[in-house]
């Protein structure tokens, strides 16, 4: 079974982690191939010629790219422990919020991380607004209900990266007092057994993002 399924990922990418979590939840065995993005393997370039990015899931020799596409593929191929809701309307809601996460929330938080001066202030305002919208969506323990589902995996990066970003840029992005539900969700998600064993080492992450942050500071000096 393991030879049939391979996952090209990196040690730190939240996009790759989504797939690791999904496969764990479903109890699926696979071979993990850790890529060095400065020296991408010939297989990766062959499997994802358009974007040359991870994650790539390779099932029986056939590659699937883009983490959200991979999540849906996994859910449709292995039916146990469903990640997405069954009802078409609920499914549409999950997809809507996933899109919001990728196209609005994540870029707004990334802009705070990379930005400076006025830009950073504006980005912070927007990021907080986006987090408020997300806070309103939490009705139960997880976005998926009582159990972790698709949306929890999509937003999972918040549970470990927000705190790393805050340390690196020395700025409070996330006021737990303002976001009690999201705060509780982050803790529950962080500690969940299917999730927790896969967290990348925090100190390594801090170093990585410190280096990245410096690059952005020097590339774009404050205006």
């Amino acid at each position: 079974m393991a030879e049939e399924l391979k996952l090209h990922r990196t040690w730190s990418s939240p996009f790759g982690l989504r797939i690791v979590w999904a496969l764990h939840i479903k109890g699926i065995e696979y071979d993990a191939i850790f890529e060095d993005l400065s020296q991408k393997s010939p297989e990766l370039l062959q499997y994802n010629p358009i974007h040359k990015k991870i994650p790539v899931l390779v099932h029986k020799g056939k590659p699937i790219c883009e983490s959200l596409v991979i999540l849906e593929y996994i859910d449709e191929t292995w039916k146990e422990a469903p990640l997405l809701p069954q009802d078409p309307y609920e499914k549409a809601m999950a997809r809507f919020w996933a899109k919001f996460g990728e196209e609005k929330l994540l870029p707004s938080i990334w802009s705070v991380f990379t930005g400076q001066g006025e830009e950073k202030k504006e980005a912070l305002g927007l990021a907080v607004q986006n987090l408020e919208l997300l806070e309103e969506q939490l009705k139960e323990k997880f976005f998926g209900g009582e159990k972790i589902g698709y949306l929890d995996l999509v937003f999972g990066w918040l549970a470990y990266l927000l705190d790393v970003f805050e340390e690196v840029i020395d700025l409070k992005l996330f006021d737990a007092g303002k976001f009690p539900l999201l705060s509780a969700w982050m803790k529950n998600f962080y500690d969940a057994p299917e999730i927790k064993e896969h967290w990348p080492p925090r100190d390594k992450l801090v170093t990585k993002f410190q280096v990245l942050h410096e690059k952005y500071q020097t590339a774009n000096p404050p205006k």
């Binding site: 056939k62 883009e66 593929y73 499914k91 549409a92 997809r95 899109k99």
Partner: protein, 243 residues
């Protein structure tokens, strides 16, 4: 689940109230000139679903629109059984899963993954690069944007080498996602004077465009070309003045 049969059964009972139910069951808040809005219309046409279309004035959005899409306040919004679904690509999947009729997405999980990958590429990176290049006279780096647009268009052209449509023999999810290219792109080219697509450069893309515009679901459901051209020419004028 709405099906043609179910509607037919209801019709026999009480025509006028059924018509109201039928009309009210599927509503689309959209804008005739928007490619995003037309994606949803063509998907509904593929399925043979009757719907009530409301043309929104984006300068004066209706309370229904603002209530149905509080997060983005954008069209298109599909309202089905009083529940609102937003984001055209999300709506497309919803339509495919909810209504009977010809499939918009393939059945096989791997084929579906490929379709979703291509739809994401076309709706995202591709559209972005093309849009940037078309308006590059008013932005930065005209030559660079054009090169980037050629690259993404070549990828699409290659994908169409042995196929009538990206979806195969019939238009499907990916073709509908790519709808800007066969219709709107050429009009914007005329308005801005930036030509990206030629049959020498992208022969398969051009062949696909001709087939696409001939599909019954599309042909009878396009905005008026002259109106669209007028709209884009006005945008060009505004951009010129701004520069």
């Amino acid at each position: 689940m709405i099906s043609e049969d179910k509607n037919h059964h209801l019709k026999r009972k009480n025509k006028s109230s059924t018509q109201l139910i039928e009309m009210a069951e599927v509503k689309l808040l959209g804008v005739g000139g928007s490619s995003y809005s037309r994606r949803v219309e063509w998907a509904l046409k593929i399925k043979g679903v009757k719907y009530e279309f409301t043309e929104e004035d984006l300068q004066s959005k209706s309370p229904l629109l603002l209530e149905s899409n509080p997060v983005h306040k954008k069209i298109p919004v599909l309202i089905h059984n009083c529940k609102a679904i937003c984001e055209s690509m999300v709506i497309l999947e919803y339509i495919d899963e909810t209504f009977e009729g010809p499939s918009i997405l393939p059945q096989d999980p791997y084929e579906r993954a490929i379709a979703r990958f291509w739809a994401k590429f076309l709706d995202g990176k591709c559209l972005e690069a093309v849009g940037k290049a078309l308006w590059s006279k008013f932005g930065e780096e005209e030559e660079k944007s054009k090169q980037e647009a050629y690259e993404v268009l070549k990828i699409v052209d290659n994908e169409l080498k042995d196929k009538k449509f990206i979806g195969g023999d019939n238009i499907g999810f990916v073709d509908v996602a790519a709808n800007y290219i066969p219709f709107w792109l050429e009009i914007v080219e005329e308005a801005t004077g930036v030509v990206l697509v030629t049959s020498e450069k992208f022969p398969h893309l051009c062949a696909w465009r001709d087939e696409y515009l001939n599909c019954s679901e599309v042909k009878e459901n396009l905005p008026d070309r002259d109106t669209m051209l007028g709209f884009f020419k006005a945008k060009v004028l505004a951009a010129t003045v701004a520069k």
